[in-house]
Every structure is written in C-alpha cells, then in structure tokens.
Amino acid sequence: MTHVLRRLVLMLLVLWAIASILFLMFRLMPGDPTTAYIDPTFTAEQRQVVLHQFGLDLPLWRQYAIYIGNLLHGELGLSFRYRAPVAGLILNVLPNTLLLTLTALVIAYIFGALGGALLAMKRGTWVEAVTIPLVLATRAAPEFWLGMLLLAVFAFAFGWFPSGGAVTAGAAFPSALARVTSADFAHHLVLPAATLAIYLQGLPLLLMRANMLEVMQEEFITMARMKGFGEWSIMLRHAARNALLPLVTAFALGFGASVGGNVVVETVFSWPGIGRMLVDAVASSDYPLAQGAFLLIAAVLVVMNAVADMLYGVLDPRVAHAAG
C-alpha cells in the first residue's frame, strides 16, 4: 500500500513540476504573449485593459500563484483566440482524441499480441525472417506519412473513406453520445485509427514475441508438456498468459504517450482532437489554449505512467505480494 501511495505522491510532484516548467516556458520567452492578439491600433489604455483581463499586468510570482491556484480548481484560463474558457474547449475535443487513441491501441495490441505469439512459435523460419524487418519498417515510418498513403489510396483514389474530420460537415446529432456512436463517426474513424494502429502494433508485437521466446524456455512449459497437454493449450494458458503481463503495462504507457503523439495523425486527418488543437494554438500564438492542451496531454501521460507502474504490481502475483 505504501508503494501505491509513494507512487501517487511522485505522480503529483511530477505534474506540479511540469506545470511549473510550462508556466516558465510561456512567460519567460521574449516578446509579449498578447502581441499576436492585440490590434496594433489599440491605444496604450485599451492594451492595458486587455492585459489586465488576462492577468498579465501582475508581477510574475503573483501570476504563478494564480496559475497554480486556478489549476487546482481545474481552471485553465481564457483562450486568446476564442475568448472562451480553455477547459471547455479542450473537454469538447477530448472524447474525439480518446476514442481515436483507444480504438487504435486496442486493435494494435490485439493484433500485436496474437502476431507476436505466432511469430514466437515460428522462430527460425522464413516467416520470421520476412516479418521482423517488415514490422520494424512500420515502426520506422512516420505516422503522418502512413496516413498520407492511406488517404491518397483509400480516400482519394478509391473514395471509400472521407478524407478528414470526425463527422460529415453540417451533420447534426441529437447528443454528443449519438454523434460518436453514429455510423458516420465510425466511417471517419477508420483511416486515422488504422494509421495509428499500423504504427502502434510493432511495439506489442515485438514485445510479445520476445516475452514468449523467454517464457517458452521456462521449466514450467516443459512441465506442461510432461503433463500431456497439447501444444496450443500450453502456448495459450502458460506461455501467452505469462508473456502478456508486460504488454498490459505497455498498453497503459502507450495510451499515455499516444494521446500526445497523435498530434501528427490528427493533423493529417483534420481530426478534431486535442493534438490538433495544440498545434493550431501554438501556430496562432494562443498561449492559454496551447498551455491547457499541453497540460492535459501531460496529465494523461503522467497518470498513465503511474497506472502502468501500479498495474504491474496488481497483475504479477510475484510483485503484488512482494510489495505488501
């Protein structure tokens, strides 16, 4: 239990450190963060009003105190560009990102686990010699380039899938839930999810294969053969079951990382997610929005890192009992 507590405390410290780094990064940069959004024809007074509105006329340490205080209340400030609360803007697009990420990860990990297990059983054959460089190549390909290939072929050449967005422009839905469960949404989801899944499957596949090869050397696998069990049942119940443990951790880590890593895929497919919102905000100097999006992405990453650590303890009886 103390292990879990310590991990949680560390998680909060890391979050606080990242929030502070981010604050410094945005405030200590040369130039006034508002220049992009204040009309040059403004008078000095008008400018002062706008600066005051965003709290930018206060000394740095006061700004920091307010910033941290606001964060604790889940308050992320006002977007320069939309003149709307950042938190609301982000929460609006967050489900799109989470759905895209989860869909892709689930496909990637199911495929990766099965593929890795099969590949382990095929070790030393030509199947392995061909497959491994191919899998490595999918990891070596930039995600956005994979996305461009899929778009060029399946959206433009064949016209099977829409070329961007999460729903058809102008489509109306009775509720947010109806929107994300609609066939239209799913149709739009196929290409970006496929792109991400192709990129993501390599890690679980190679991990699963390596784990399987290691587990297959274990004495308890030999024992299972001596017990007269069939090869497939041994591979499933013993080899795969043991090899899967690190994959669960990798899934949690992968989830944390790909919410932020989605940036390029969301941009290629004009997917209205948090990554694309971050890119747009950075490009248009909307610092509060960029900061908020960044923080949320970081929070998901940090929380998932902690979850991965703790999951490992829960799933592996050896670790679970050693820890308490």
């Binding site: 940069m29 460089p133 490595l136 070596a140 461009m148 991990l207 950075v282 990453l301």
Partner: protein
C-alpha cells in the same frame, strides 16, 4: 512517440564493445542496417555533386512556362514539385539535415544519459535522488508537443529540434546506465581501485565509464531514428526550419500542394521511403548490437 524501446537490465558481457567490428559479420540484420547507413552517408557527403539542380530553384521550361508538376523524365528523374522544383535534387540534399539531426541528437542523448547515469549511480545519495526525480519529470513531458512548443518559442531550426530531442530522450539511457554503474561499483576491480586510494574522478573515468560505453552506444543508435522521425514530424506540422530542405519539409510541401487528392504519389512516396530506410537502418543496427551486448536475448 514514446522512447519506449525496452532494453533488458541484464549486465552486458564485459567489454562487449571490443566485438563491435564483428557486429556486421555476425548479425545479418545489422549488416543491412550498416549498409543503408553507408549509402545515405555517401549521398549526404556528395549531395552537391549528385543533385543536378538547386533544390530551392524554381525551374522553367524552355518555352518560359513554369516547370511545375512534371512527371519523371531523364531531365527530372523524379519529376518536379508544384512550384517547379526538382524532386530528385531535394531528395538527395534532404539526406543532409536528416542525418545531421539524427547523429547530433544521438550524441546529445548518449552524452546526457551517460553523464547523468554515471553521476547518479556512482555518487548516489542526494545527487542520485535529484537526478532520478528529474528523469521522472522528463518522462512525464509529452514528447512531440514539447518539441513543437520549444521550436516555436525558440524559433524553428534544426538546432532547436536536436536540443529538444536531447533534452527529452536521455532518461531511459540514464536509468539503465545508472543500474549498470551500481553493479559495477560492487565489482572487485572498482573496490581495488578504491583501496589504492585512487581519486573518485579517476575511478569513475578509468574504471567505470569504459564499461558503460556499450550501453551509451546502444542508446545513441536508438536515438538516431527518433530524432529523424521527430524532425520529419515537426517539419510536417510546419514548425520546421524554413530554409532547410529536409524529407519532412518535402512531405509537408506535398501535403500542402494537395499531392494526395491530385494523386501525385511521386511527391511524397520517395521522401517517406528515405525516412523509413534510414530509421529502419538505425533499428536494425541497434537490434543487432543489443543482441551482441545481451546474448541472452538471442533467440
């Protein structure tokens, strides 16, 4: 893009790096990787002589028309872009920034990781705690978003991309090297050096550091690919250096010129393949090298 290459924590065989030259011979995958590296290194080195045109020059046909969107021909091996630039020349010169970013970032990652790992593992105590907590924080920073924000705040350039890659990717290397140092500290030759009252710095540099270099090299070889992919992604998102022709820039240019809807595969397939080849070469080399360092992982 998580730097999630998993590396076993087993101690590498002593002085495995002496066997480095045998890497190419023993591991066929690594041989292919090294061959790809060599080819691209030669291309980058002689890019000026290989490329028939200036990659940024806007070309015109003899009749004065803009030589835009030409299909591949003897004159333009891979055709021209929307703005009438020679794609083959861009591709050849694009090898330079990609390799430069990859190699410098790799050196950066390996240097920071090695120094932090050495200090943390050897001195322990408060230094260790501070450095390892710092590593925890860095691991919590989303990689690509950070690179983008830093690129914009510091102004887009290759140097800043290298800087942000180096700043974010060192913790994995540092953690593994640290635990290696911890086991080395227990070894007899380090103990013996202590007894003979050698200075701490001398022990660290002469007795400990050489033994973690193989790991430094492993993490450097992993970082090459990440850095190249990062440069491409950042360029694609439009936060790249504006005056450098890189493969990422070419992809961004193609995307912005509607290559996808116009079916101009020649605009974006070749640079993508180049990125895949170079990054793949890095993976192949590091895999082969890892197997050499940790023979247990060998199947």
């Amino acid at each position: 893009m998580p730097p999630a290459e998993t590396v076993a924590l087993a101690a590498p065989r002593g002085l495995a790096w002496r066997r480095l030259p045998s890497l190419a011979i023993v591991k066929p995958y690594a041989t292919v990787g090294i061959a790809i590296y060599l080819v691209f290194a030669l291309i980058a080195l002689f890019a000026g002589r290989i490329a028939p045109y200036d990659p940024l020059e806007i070309l015109f046909a003899p009749d004065g028309q803009l030589a835009a969107s030409l299909p591949p021909s003897a004159q333009h091996l891979l055709g021209t872009t929307n703005l009438g630039r020679d794609i083959f020349s861009q591709l050849v010169l694009g090898a330079r920034p990609s390799l430069a970013v990859g190699i410098t970032a790799a050196i950066g990652v390996a240097s920071i990781g090695t120094i932090v790992g050495l200090l943390s593992g050897y001195f322990g105590g408060l230094i260790d705690t501070i450095l390892m907590r710092l590593a925890d924080v860095v691991v919590g920073i989303p990689f690509l978003p950070f690179v983008i924000v830093l690129a914009v705040l510091l102004h887009p350039s290759l140097t800043n991309i290298v800087l942000s890659v180096a700043l974010l990717l060192w913790p994995n290397a540092a953690r593994v090297i640290r635990s290696q140092v911890l086991t080395l500290r227990q070894r007899q030759f380090v103990e013996a050096a202590r007894m003979s009252a050698a200075s701490e710095l001398r022990i660290l540099l002469i007795h400990v550091a050489p033994n973690v270099l193989p790991l430094s090299f492993l993490y450097a070889s992993i970082a090459v690919g990440w850095a190249i992919l990062t440069e491409a992604s950042v360029s694609f998102l439009g936060f790249g250096s504006a005056d450098t022709i890189s493969w990422g820039y070419m992809l961004q240019d193609a995307y912005a010129s509607q290559a996808l809807s116009r079916g101009q595969y020649i605009w974006f397939v070749p640079p993508g393949i180049c990125i895949v080849l170079v990054v793949l070469a890095g993976f192949l080399v590091s895999r082969g090298y890892e197997e050499l360092l940790f023979p247990k992982l060998k199947d």
